[in-house]
């Protein structure tokens, strides 16, 4: 029997790492199966057609305002519209760019970001809108499309020798498309609560490296029969998760997930709410070279009493995003990190009988910053009531193509689902190249 009081020393850690690298738990056993083999060779992606411009961004922080953010009260508040109701425009550091009065902090850093005011879509259903925004494809029953983070991994390839994931979703909602039809290796790691970070990464103290190894071996042995019997993606997906979990447990970089490493006053700059802390965690992960981090922020579905609610919600967003942009800039990260903020659609220009605004896919806004995006620019306008695009309309796919363009992803490359259907990173979108410069 081994000595269970022994600490997990460097030697056992090293041997453990080797062990994890051998990727047991089904992965070795499956190496003959096409499931993972094809993807291990995925990098670099084969270019099918069309020249790819060099990347201006290496990483993305994608901020998703779920529930549908009112465009007229935030980023499309231009003044002089009857419908702007309880929100006044304020001038910003970028000349000619106004914001809703709920966004004083963002106004101070408006020279760092650009706004698209002519986004539009057709669906007014939250889930369908979110799905479209994250995948560039309408939701249908027969397939699940991958989200942007999984596309990035798929097209750029899985990096060897890294223990941190490249795709993380913080505060995500349940219906996130994840890796869609792509292989499980591209699945984002969900972080339910940024304050808790990545949980359960420590083995209980009574275990030594040796006994953990024994246990992993045992799982593998007991699991063989079942895996052979049911050669299904949902079953095999867990092999990948076992492997990643085992590697993560031994990662030297786990502190990236731990907000306790930050000073209190730094954390407070972002706001102590879930979204603020989520943004800070995103920054920590980006700093550790994680490629794609999504932070979700709800509460925007304001059908009733919008002006009682928007102050808090927009206030949290304003504080967090402004702090994030400042922080990234100070650390020299903004240059190669693209920050994107968007929502599934906008809200009706007209205030309804319950003093709220309803769903409005006709026109809405997105924000982009860093990673080669110009500062202080407005692309596209909405019409006089803020009802439809007036100039330079941008589709959801165009918007996503712009992100992909910044990352230097091949927009034309087709990736095939298991049923043999071809899909592209931003569907049929054309990037708004004028936003770069």
């Amino acid at each position: 029997m081994f000595d269970f009081t022994q600490k997990f020393d460097d030697l056992s850690r090293r041997s453990f790492m080797e062990y994890a690298a051998k990727s047991l738990l089904g992965v070795t056993a499956l190496s003959a199966a096409p499931l993972f083999a094809a993807d291990a060779k995925a990098a670099p992606a084969k270019k099918k057609a069309g020249p790819v411009t060099p990347a201006t961004a290496d990483r993305v922080i994608y901020l998703f305002m779920t529930g549908a953010m009112s465009h007229l009260d935030t980023f499309d508040c231009v003044g002089g519209r009857a419908n702007e109701a309880g929100t006044k425009p304020i001038s910003t550091k970028a000349s000619g760019l106004t914001l809703g009065s709920w966004l004083p902090n963002l106004a101070k850093v408006a020279d760092q970001f650009s706004i698209v005011r002519s986004l539009h879509t057709e669906t007014a259903d939250h889930e369908k809108g979110r799905y479209l925004m994250r995948t560039s494809y309408p939701e249908i029953a027969s397939i699940r499309h991958p989200g942007m983070g999984s596309w990035v991994m798929r097209l750029q390839g899985v990096r060897a020798g890294r223990s941190l994931p490249d795709n993380v979703v913080i505060n995500g909602d349940n219906r996130h498309p994840g890796a869609g039809f792509l292989e499980p290796i591209y699945t984002p790691i969900p972080i339910g609560d940024p304050n808790a970070g990545l949980q359960n990464t420590k083995q209980p103290e009574y275990l030594t490296g040796g006994s953990f190894r024994t246990r992993l071996d045992l799982i593998d042995k007991f699991d063989t029969g079942f895996r052979k019997k049911y050669p299904q993606k949902q079953v095999e997906a867990y092999s990948e998760f076992y492997k990643q979990a085992t590697a993560l447990m031994q990662s030297e970089d786990l502190k990236a997930f731990d907000l306790n490493e930050e000073k209190k006053e730094e954390r407070e700059k972002y706001g102590m709410d879930r979204f603020g802390q989520g943004c800070m965690l995103a920054r920590r992960l980006i700093e550790n070279d994680v490629k794609f981090v999504e932070v979700t922020f709800g509460n925007w579905d304001m059908h009733t009493d919008i002006y009682d609610k928007i102050g808090d919600t927009a206030g949290n967003m304003d504080r967090a995003v402004a702090a994030l942009l400042e922080d990234l800039k100070t650390r020299g990260l903004l240059k190669r990190t693209m920050v994107v903020l968007v929502s599934e659609f906008g809200r009706t220009p007209k205030i309804n009988q319950n003093d709220g605004r309803d769903h409005h896919p006709g026109v809405f806004c997105g924000l982009m910053a860093g990673g080669g995006i110009r500062g202080g620019m407005v692309w596209g306008t909405s019409d006089k009531d803020g009802h439809s695009p007036d100039k330079d309309a941008v589709t959801v796919a165009d918007f996503n193509a712009t992100i992909a363009h910044g990352l230097g992803l091949p927009l034309d490359e087709e990736v095939f689902s298991r049923s043999g259907r071809p899909f592209k990173v931003a569907h049929d979108g054309k990037p708004v190249t004028k936003l770069f410069g």
Partner: protein, 642 residues
């Protein structure tokens, strides 16, 4: 409960058995010091649970119906040249039946009892026994909680969700016929705290158009939401039709007017109380502190007769913007609205009628999917006119059975559970969405988050059925007041009482024997809903209750970390867990292995597995048992429903 006393002396020698593989015991330990006797714990109010039982007289009919279903399925096997799967072994069946009916794996004793039972009708009997348990209602409740987006905190601003959620749970326990249950939700009127069924409409308070969209989707399996803004791109619905059907419910009001002259004498009753309470409560600043009384008691569903008009941007030629809309349902037969009728009630009766072409069909298909993992029609909530079921004759029969049974969902489930098709092994090969599936058996499914959680509870906790969530009445009896009559002093007093009954003292008294390292060891249906995003249940895919059927069974890295290192996994190795006790009660290593395998996988180990496990035990002695247990709960066989 998670046993409070350790095992008897007789087994004390064995008590150290798994210690090496267990967390240090951290449950309350006796200290030597004498303390004054603690004050008696506050009483723990409970809810009386009445579970409707299956009718033994219907057995013959149910079995005959199951046979007929099998015949129709067999016809498709022939037609499509499908080889049906082998029948399940008893071991496979007992596990699946428990999971599908009660939402958890069987206990060691239950699995063993079924294995040694020699009765020829033992499957049929087990189905009936399980359908009659409160756990079966809890499992069905988890399903509807996902569909109806049930939240404890609030159904709408300042109205606690629990009252409505408990009403849903009780309706399922009583097996209220499905059509009546739905009718009750759609037609409920009155104050929320008196009429909890109003919670259904209140969940979409202030959003009458979305509410109609959700209602049609949930109960008629049809999506008309696209047509809220424009003609449906894939289905036939025109925007005008959306407004026509939405107009039935558009007159619904969700709140009493605080300035109602008749009720409150004209002065805004909320403002009045706020002013008066400021005089009584020194710390009160006139803000939201008393809102659950002042606003909560205004929450009410009633009908105003308000008419829906087309929006300003109405873009089609079939009507003018801002013109009034006449109610019209999306399917025939059209109901008649007579003078004096409430359009909402007319609509609800039309929706729940056996003549409605999609109402019975939708529930029949939903329940089919619950047992087979895939619907006769997929997706279950997006039927179109041209949608064809996998087996149209069977779908029609299932629909007609639902009508014949007068929407007795329990009896319907009983029929499906008795089919051969259900009792076949899960299909080995992957079923790709969109491809045809002719039901050679159920498909392989990962357990739902609630099933994984409840199975862990089954492994560790002695009597989980004894734990009950706090009944809603504890709070509603204090909350429910008549704002026209009550004095501000009484509100002040009740608010203090409410804070007292919701404080940790009361919670601790209820949870005392069911808590391990701060985690409440109650079944999912008795837990607060939804759980926080970092909880086990949410990691495994429990719905956030924000959108309809948002639960998932996808895997993730945090799940695996939870299984490897989380509190819940190690709890089953704790000396006070049921698992531990069952293992040490067995005498020989071979018997212990049987206990371990039967407990976790509901089957005995194979010769090969026995060899692997024995080797482990020989090598690591007592810790070896812990390692075997830990490894088995981490297998996919544990996580999937075969």
């Amino acid at each position: 409960m998670f046993r409070t006393a350790c095992l008897t002396l007789k087994f004390a020698a064995l008590c150290g058995l798994l210690l090496i593989a267990t967390p240090s015991p951290s449950l309350a330990q006796k200290s030597g010091k004498k303390k004054p006797p603690p004050p008696p714990p506050p009483p723990v109010p409970v809810r009386r649970i009445v579970v409707d039982k299956v009718n033994p007289e219907e057995t013959t009919r149910a079995v005959a119906s199951a046979k007929l279903i099998d015949r129709m399925i067999n016809q498709n096997y022939t037609k499509y040249k499908v080889k049906p799967n082998e029948m399940t072994t008893d071991e496979q069946f007992v596990r699946r039946a428990y999971l599908d009916i009660t939402g958890t794996i069987p206990t060691f004793k239950q699995a063993r009892a079924f294995a040694i039972n020699k009765g020829s009708d033992k499957r049929q009997r087990l189905i009936d026994t399980l359908l009659n348990t409160p756990e079966a209602s809890g499992h069905l409740y988890n399903y509807w909680a996902d569909v109806l987006r049930l939240r404890d905190r609030e159904v709408t601003n300042n109205a606690p969700g629990k009252v409505y959620n408990e009403w849903v749970k009780e309706s399922l326990e009583k097996n209220v016929p499905y059509d009546q249950w739905v009718l009750e939700m759609l037609t409920a009127e009155g104050k929320y705290l008196d009429k909890p069924a109003t919670g259904y409409l209140l969940r979409d308070s202030g959003m009458p158009l979305d509410s109609m969209n959700n209602t049609v989707r949930i109960f008629l399996g049809t999506q008309i939401g696209c047509a809220q803004c424009h003609d449906h791109p894939f289905d036939k619905w025109r925007r005008k039709e959306f407004y026509e059907v939405a107009s039935y419910m558009y007159g619904t009001s969700y709140r009493m007017n605080a300035g109602d002259k008749q009720k409150f004498g004209g002065q805004n009753v909320v403002n009045k109380f706020r002013e008066e309470l400021k005089k009584i409560d020194e710390k009160y600043d006139g803000g939201g502190k008393y809102n659950r009384f002042l606003i909560g008691n205004l929450v009410e569903v009633s009908d105003t007769g308000r008419k829906l008009i087309l929006p300003d941007d109405y873009q089609y030629d079939d009507a003018k913007p801002k013109s009034a809309v006449n109610p019209r349902t999306i399917f025939d037969p059209q109901p008649q609205i007579s003078p004096g009728d409430t359009p909402r009630v007319v609509f609800a009766k039309w929706l729940t009628s056996p003549q409605n072409p999609r109402f019975a069909k939708t529930i029949a298909n939903r329940m089919w999917k619950r047992l087979f993992g895939i619907g006769q029609i997929e997706p279950v909530d997006d039927m179109m006119d041209e949608t064809v079921a996998e087996n149209p004759e069977l779908m029609n029969y299932l629909t007609s059975e639902m009508v014949r049974l007068k929407f007795d969902v329990k009896e319907y489930l009983r029929i499906l559970l008795n089919t051969e098709a259900y009792q076949r092994q899960a299909t080995f090969a992957e079923v790709i969405p969109g491809e045809e599936y002719h039901f050679p058996g159920p498909i392989l499914r990962r357990m739902s988050a609630e099933q994984v959680w409840d199975s862990f509870i089954t492994l560790a906790v002695y009597d989980p059925e004894q734990y009950q969530a706090e009944p809603a009445r504890v709070q509603t009896e204090l909350l429910n007041v008549d704002l026209a009559k009550i004095s501000p002093e009484e509100i002040f007093k009740r608010d203090e009482e409410l804070r007292e009954v919701t404080n940790s003292k009361h919670r601790d008294a209820r949870n005392k024997n069911y808590t391990y390292q701060g985690v409440l060891l109650a079944r999912a249906a008795e837990q607060p809903a939804p759980m926080p995003a970092s909880h086990f249940l949410r990691q495994f895919g429990q719905s956030d209750r924000e959108s309809i059927e948002a639960s998932t069974t996808d895997g993730s890295v945090p799940q695996v970390l939870q299984m490897f290192n989380g509190t819940i996994t190690h709890m089953i190795l704790h000396p006070k867990s049921l698992m531990y006790s069952n293992v040490v009660l067995a005498k020989t290593p071979a018997e212990r292995l049987d206990v371990i395998f039967l407990s976790i996988l509901s089957r005995k180990p194979t010769a090969e597995e026995k060899e692997i496990a024995m080797e482990e035990i020989e090598q690591h002695k007592e810790a070896g048992y812990g390692n075997v247990i830990w490894s088995l709960v981490n297998t996919r066989e544990f996580l999937f429903v075969q």
